[in-house]
Amino acid sequence: MQHSKTTTQQTMPNTKELEDFVTQVRRDILRQVHKVNSGHPGGSLGCAEFFTALYQDVMEYSSDFTMNGIGEDLFFLSNGHISPVFYSVLARSGFFPIEELCTFRLINSRLQGHPTTHEGLPGIRIASGSLGQGLSVAIGAAEAKKLNKDSHIIYTLHGDGELQEGQNWEAIMYAAGNKIDNLIATVDVNGQQIDGATDQVLPMGNLKAKFEAFGWDVLEVKEGNNITKVIEGLNEAKSRTGKGKPVCILMTTVMGHGVDFMMHTHKWHGVAPNDEQLENALAQNPETLGDY
């Protein structure tokens, strides 16, 4: 299911195909972190629909990767620890061989624990992992698009806990103050972070009111693990670009979605399943497109 920037409409897959894609991505996530007994499955599983929606439906891009991405929509992952979902979707969207997923977090791999440009992995435009930096980078890329008279859109993803980093709020203020309206920032509202529920660790209050107070156009996707709803939300957000305001999607997901014993807890934020747990988790997500 490779995309080309000119043929989005012709190649748009149907819902069943997208759901199969999501299921395969979940298998990839689980198998990647299990093999090296490290990585972050929880947030990755929760965002499988979002990444699939972006790369298999919404974004216009070429899988023939160039760093500058002129004439393409660009995506920046700010919460880089959910690299397993990013790698799976990039590989299955044609950026690099699917077999390479078996090198996740291994020595001499391009698939570092957190995404980076350093080893030249196609699809990655910035290193992320140290939290809170992605929105600023995305704003820079959005400013470059405007200077280049390139009407394509910049997409980002951030964790909700990540918003505790202050740099986000510098960027949120700048984007509204400077009418960065070619930017759609999605926050993965799963309510969990490593030490526990976000409300327990550091309550962030009403995020919608906060973004709106800063001058953003905010929409909510309440079913972030429903591929149809995620696509609808992204398309609605897209229709709100170019109107003088940056657009924020508050997307509610379930951390660990798709694996019953990983859901609704922070426990699997940064813990890999053992052999038995993997078997159980994979049984809940049967192979669709073929394992790597």
Partner: protein, 317 residues
């Protein structure tokens, strides 16, 4: 001994501003970002001539570094401007991840470095920035000595692909390098030839080193002065060639002796040609309020300090 003439005191930051003005006309990909210090950084001309390519970020340096990293994606060449303290220590992790590790073509331009910032005091007088920046893999670190050299360096780094830290200062100091001289990144400039001691200086201390060499010459000591404007990558060949001739070295910089030019020179010598070295630098201390001249004297960063260090290091040969 070759003599140098001060053509009139000028601030190095104005050299940066002049270079940026020229880049505005000559290179349409150059963009400038500033964190509410446009006047101090002498970026007004660029801002007025090219408002579409100037980004006022506000007092938000972390966001500025991130935006600079992002705007390279699309082929732009961003020059960020703020004080050296806020250009480095305040945003170290942003530079580390979004610029250096990501290999972005960002030019971090830092004014008001060192104690010569003066009366504002230690909160603003960073003496650790060379160390912070030179430790980052892939980062080029430049500290220019006068107006002309700062202008030339500003033009040169636009042509260079990769992250650069360009350090300059606030006060008006001697302007003595050639106007419109060519700036070669990573290439030492031999200012005087000598046989008794090598004086390796960077930034504001280069002019002081020349004054020291004249004083030493009067007392029969022949000093070879080298202007190291690029601390990383270091021109080891030029340093070794000189020290092999003189047998000793004084390093001079407006920076902490931990992590600065001096330690880079020490490492080079330790690896290839161990020789006595004296450090004219601040000695693991913060600065304080005062005039630039008073502070240079109090912290031992002037010609007199270099003369003293030279005599001492010659005795140690």
């Amino acid at each position: 001994m070759k003599k140098y003439t001060n053509t009139g005191n000028k601030d190095t930051r104005s050299g940066f501003g002049a270079g940026l003005t020229e880049l505005g006309k000559s290179n349409e990909n150059v963009v400038a970002l500033c964190a509410d210090l446009t006047g101090s950084l002498k970026m007004d001309d660029f801002k007025n001539n090219h408002p579409e390519r100037f980004f006022q970020i506000g007092i938000a340096e972390a966001n500025m570094i991130g935006i600079a990293a992002g705007i390279t994606i699309g082929g732009k060449i961003p020059f960020t401007g703020t004080f050296a303290n806020f250009s480095t220590g305040r945003v170290y992790d942003q530079i580390r991840q979004s610029v250096a590790y990501s290999g972005k073509n960002v030019k971090i331009c830092a004014s008001h470095a060192g104690v010569t910032l003066g009366e504002d005091g230690a909160t603003h007088q960073i003496l650790e920035d060379i160390g912070l920046m030179k430790m980052l893999p892939g980062m080029t670190v430049i500290n220019t000595c006068d107006y002309n050299q700062t202008k030339a360096a500003t033009l040169a780094i636009a042509e260079f692909e990769g992250p650069v830290y360009l350090r300059f200062g606030r006060p008006k100091v001697a302007n003595f390098t050639p106007e419109d001289g060519k700036f070669e990144i990573g290439k030492a400039v031999n200012l005087t030839e000598g046989t008794d001691v090598t004086i390796i200086a960077t930034g504001h201390l280069v002019w002081e080193a020349l004054q020291a060499a004249e004083q030493l010459n009067e007392s029969g000591i022949s000093a070879e002065v080298i202007n190291i404007h690029t601390i990383k990558p270091l021109d080891e060949e030029a340093i070794l060639k000189s020290v092999k001739k003189t047998g000793c070295v004084v390093t001079a910089e407006e920076h902490n002796f931990l992590g600065g030019l001096g330690e880079s020179v020490s490492r080079t010598l330790a690896e290839h040609f161990p020789a006595p070295q004296e450090f004219v630098a601040t000695k693991d201390t913060f600065g304080e309020s005062g005039t630039p001249e008073q502070l240079m004297e109090k912290y031992g960063l002037n010609a007199e300090a270099i003369v003293k260090a030279s005599k001492k290091v010659i005795d140690r040969k």
